[in-house]
Structures are given as structure tokens and as C-alpha cells.
């Protein structure tokens, strides 16, 4: 199954997404948790840890700063940029806004 959690800021989307991911993983599902928020915090709800979540490399930033070719497959993205979270959940952060960029 493919699920997206949406709603206004501060309503608890990330908490729901992280906890549902962990619950599904515990029930035997292979779970990919995709953090598509430009202010990514899903790692905290998954149990990765606050500072470790803050330090995760996002796909976009990883590609922009890396010197290798763009990853050609989705599986490659998940392997290369993913992080293991508890219960076997694999977390991928899409992008992060962390610098001034008025353009």
C-alpha cells in the first residue's frame, strides 16, 4: 500500500506518519518512509533521534554536493540516501531547506 499524510502545519502529520510506519513494519510490512517536507522531521517520530534526524543528508542536497553520477534507479536512491530506522523502516529524506536562497 502507498499512503500520504497531509494537513495543516502543527496538526501531527509527522507523528502519525512515523508511528504508522513503525506499526506497519512491526506487522511484517517492508516500509519506506519518505519525508517530503522541506523541513524534514520524520526521523524524530520514527525514533532515529533528534540530532541525528537534523543531520540526515537529503537526496537533493546529496546529489548537489556529491561528485558521482545521479542515481539511475529508485532502489539505488533508497540504498544510497536511506537511513535505517527502528523496526526495519527505511527512511529517505527528499530535500531540506537550510540556507538563504531568495532566488
Amino acid at each position: 500500500m502507498k499512503i500520504v499524510v497531509a494537513g495543516k502545519g502543527g496538526v501531527g502529520k509527522t507523528t502519525v506518519a512515523g508511528t504508522v510506519s513503525r506499526a506497519l513494519a512491526r506487522n511484517g510490512h517492508r516500509v519506506l518512509a519518505l519525508d517530503a517536507d522541506a523541513n524534514p522531521m520524520l526521523g524524530i517520530s520514527l525514533g532515529v533521534g533528534p540530532e541525528d534526524t537534523d543531520a540526515l543528508v537529503a537526496v537533493r542536497q546529496g546529489l548537489e554536493t556529491g561528485d558521482s553520477e545521479h542515481e539511475p534507479t529508485i532502489e539505488g536512491f533508497v540504498e544510497r540516501f536511506g537511513t535505517d530506522a527502528p523496526d526495519g523502516v527505511r527512511l529517505v529524506v527528499a530535500s531540506r531547506i537550510d540556507q538563504f536562497d531568495p532566488g
Binding site: K8, G9, N39, M41, I97, D98, Q99, F100, P102
Partner: protein
């Protein structure tokens, strides 16, 4: 918090312009303002020959405030970006663009120099990174005692510090106990400018659609925002 602060300052005699940068509703409700369905700033924008939005000729910041700001209680004027519609932002992109193009020019007119501007950005670091608050002299980082909130505020502070010098202060919001407020202050290594407690009356006000300052004027949260205005007054308000 922005809406209540704007009302408090207006009641103290300041001319207040509230800027609602968020494309989702919020500030109008907390101000108690009644806003039209169509964003007034739509009339300030036109598309150029290159297909890009621009301000209509003759529309500068002073004229935009006079023509397109909405009157809110206590004399606050509210200038809004376009808001999401049922079909997204496309129908209001003119208003969004007009708003964004006015922001860097708000310091220009002599007629606005003695105004107090209270800007409300959307949640997260995006609008700070995109320079949606170039007028700001003082950024209030509103932080709940949670990791998500603290890390977000730290990210915003780092981004905001890069383009130009700006004063920043931490405001703890929805504090349920002293430990929560202390946690935030320990994380940032500085005392908070204000600690606004969790206040059930504010939640009730939100549910009823009333402005907090009208629905719960004697509650602890509004009192704390009055204290925040006290703390701001020596540094940010006109003589």
C-alpha cells in the same frame, strides 16, 4: 500570537500593519478581521508582456496599504498574500506576487516609517530562506517545547542570520510547565523573551472562530503576549 501581539500594540497607540505571508488562513482569525473572498491585492497585480506578474503602474507600498489593506479591530491594518483556494494557488497568484514584490519596499515610504509591522510567516524555514521578511528588524522565533519545534527554530535562525544582521529572540509557546520552558531556553542557550503558557481558552477561541484577545482577554496566554509587547517596546517600537 502575531494577531494578538498586533492588537495589543494597536491598543497601546501604535499604528500597526499586520502582514500575512501565509498562504493558509490564520492571521485574520487571530486578529478578528473579516476578509473578502477574493484577496484585495489581486487588483494590484498584472501580467507583463513576458507573462510574469508585476505590480500595476503606480502601485507602491504606501498606496497598496491604503487601497488593499483590510481594516481589523483596534485599527490594525492587514495586508494579505493570496490564500489557497479549493483549486490551489493559481487563481490568486497575482496577489501572491504583488505581496512578495511589496515586501522589500516597505521601508521606502516616509509615511510607513513610524508604523509597527507585525509579519506572520508560514510554518517552517521556507519563507525565511526565500526572503519573505526583508523588512524585519527583530525576528521572534516561536518555539514549543518539542524537538521538532526546537530544531525548526534553530534552522530558521541559521538561515535568517545569513543575509543581513537581524535581532532574534526566542518566544516559548504552549508551555505546559516550567520544565518545558526551561528545556527550550537551555537548547538555545538564552532566556526567552516571553513564555506563553498553553491556554485552553485559546483553543476554545480558535474553535469558535473568535480572536483570542476578544474571546480570552483575561487568560494567561493573552497576558503573556501583553508581557511580550512590554519586552519589545524599548527596542522595536517608535518613540
Amino acid at each position: 500570537m502575531a494577531g494578538t501581539l498586533a492588537r495589543v500594540l494597536a491598543r497601546r497607540g501604535h499604528r500597526v500593519l499586520a502582514l500575512d505571508s501565509d498562504t493558509l488562513p490564520g492571521l485574520a482569525l487571530s486578529l478578528g478581521a473579516v476578509v473578502p473572498d477574493e484577496p484585495p491585492l489581486l487588483a494590484a497585480a498584472e501580467k507583463g508582456e513576458d507573462g510574469r506578474w508585476r505590480l500595476r503602474k503606480g502601485i507602491g507600498p504606501m498606496r497598496a496599504v491604503r487601497r488593499y489593506a483590510i481594516e481589523a479591530p483596534d485599527g490594525v491594518l492587514l495586508l494579505q498574500s493570496g490564500k489557497h483556494t479549493d483549486t490551489g494557488l493559481a487563481p490568486v497568484m497575482g496577489a501572491v506576487n504583488a505581496f512578495y514584490r511589496l515586501l522589500p519596499r516597505l521601508k521606502e515610504p516616509a509615511g510607513l516609517r513610524d508604523w509597527t509591522i507585525v509579519g506572520d510567516l508560514s510554518a517552517g524555514p521556507r519563507q525565511t530562506a526565500y526572503d519573505w521578511a526583508p523588512y524585519a528588524e527583530h525576528i521572534l522565533l516561536v518555539v514549543e517545547p518539542t524537538w521538532q519545534s526546537m530544531l525548526t527554530a534553530r534552522r530558521i535562525a541559521r538561515i535568517a542570520a545569513s543575509p543581513r544582521p537581524v535581532k532574534m529572540s526566542v518566544v516559548v509557546n504552549k508551555a505546559t510547565d516550567e520544565a518545558g520552558a526551561r528545556r527550550v531556553q537551555d537548547f538555545f542557550g538564552e532566556a526567552a523573551l516571553a513564555v506563553i503558557p498553553a491556554d485552553e481558552a485559546l483553543r476554545e477561541a480558535e474553535r469558535s472562530g473568535a480572536a483570542p484577545i476578544d474571546a480570552a482577554p483575561d487568560g494567561p496566554a493573552v497576558a503573556a503576549i501583553e508581557g511580550l509587547a512590554d519586552a519589545l517596546e524599548p527596542s522595536s517600537l517608535p518613540a
